[in-house]
Symmetry: C3
Subunit: 194 residues, 3 copies
């Protein structure tokens, strides 16, 4: 049994799936990434990408609620601002072609910590680290497998961009807040298990 | 009779008129925009531009107060931060020459929503939408009339930049906060009409 | 006798000394700055640079506490977000090569005021101005002395970048918050003098 109601989890899958192709399109349009194999596509993205981001969004939100300590103060406003911040950062990574590694890493890591400091908590940081590790590892494996590749000036971390973990960290922090918002509006937990 | 005192409205006209030529200068200096006809000028701007922005600032602030529900918590600090955020975003749009449309739109729209999520409310969003529609329409008409033009890589929305509505939205949200700040320091309304 | 305990001042020196070479490396890697004379070095920086930033961090923090009126609401979260914001801004200045002076100044000044509006107070602004004046003057003198130089497209203010005072201002505001955080966790002042 999930802590979050099935309909809300579905809503989070859709949110992630609808928004992520926009960021992916920016990376393809700037030449930051390129797909080498693609069967079914949505815009510039293969079908698996929005599914991966959508399911991850819901899984991280559910994980956050299961970690306990959902904050009463978290409001929809935080969720809206958080999602917008991730999208702005996603777009900003498209400006980093040809820039020194330290510039991109410091800019995105700094912004990631700013976002966390405004809307995050310790358990949200855990979700952020989980997202950073799993997201970066997934992309590194797919890149190694020849599914897609980062530009040669942006592939310094196991074949992916060095700033990528910090973009995923912010995604995880925001997904955690989405979990808190979904949960705090639903006073009676669906299940006391977990 | 206006809801805001005449002197404060005049102050808002001046604020918009003094700051806007700086942003306009950035657009001209980066080649984002160029004027084709100009009679009276202030720096790189024709006289009508700071007047347009200044009067719009005051009109949007007055509109926000007339919409009611002025928040007591709004402080001068929010107004200062909001004006600074708009100017930083205005400057950031000067970095978008030659970038994909989706990058500029996602970056500026994301930042616009972040600013709204921190200092805005529903009625402020209404002011933002009014500013986005009227500002973009005004520039599209003037561009069509041959008064000025956007660079060919930045004119994809009716002859103006696709990120322009989101910059105007942020301007409208901040002008609304300026209205709230001006009003909340003036406990006795000048007029109960409206 | 200092207001802040010696161990905390040492921690602030270390914080500034450890983080600053990262920003300096970005400026060197982007060609924003270049060193002409360097004896002892740490990464791309001469030894004196991290020492200068580290000691300045502690001195500004101590100054803030001596100015009085330490806010009880200031939390570690503000300090973490503030340090991250300065580093993100430091990195962003590396994107400004070849951009118009007004763009860089407006972007960095706007962001500086946004940071101040979120975590600063009047006395923090005083620390910011002290940092802006002393930091800019120090770099201008060292540049004039031939120790290092800014790129020819970024040296318009006494030989240093025109956006530099606003980066130092933010640094001073954040160092002041670091002082408040260090002090507010230490209810019994070490010394009532000052």
């Amino acid at each position: 049994m999930t802590q979050l109601p099935a309909l809300r989890l579905l809503g989070l899958v859709l949110l992630g799936a609808v928004i992520s192709p926009l960021g992916d399109h920016i990376h393809v349009a700037t030449g930051t990434t390129a797909y080498d194999e693609m069967w079914l596509r949505i815009g510039d993205s293969p079908l698996w990408f929005p599914l991966f981001v959508g399911i991850s969004t819901a899984a991280l939100a559910e994980t956050r609620v299961r970690l306990g300590g959902v904050r009463a103060a978290v409001s929809t406003r935080w969720a809206v601002g958080g999602v917008a911040a991730v999208m702005a950062m996603y777009a900003a990574t498209g400006l980093l072609r040809g820039q020194p590694t330290a510039l991109g890493v410091t800019l995105i890591a700094g912004l990631a910590i700013v976002v966390w400091s405004v809307i995050g908590d310790g358990r949200g940081a855990v979700c952020g680290v989980v997202a950073a590790v799993t997201g970066t590892a997934t992309e590194a494996i797919l890149s190694e497998a020849g599914v897609f590749h980062y530009a040669s000036d942006s592939d310094g971390l196991l074949g992916v961009a060095p700033w990528l973990p910090f973009l995923y960290f912010t995604f995880g922090v925001v997904a955690a807040v989405l979990g808190e918002v979904s949960r705090s509006r639903n006073d009676q937990p669906v299940s006391s298990g977990g």
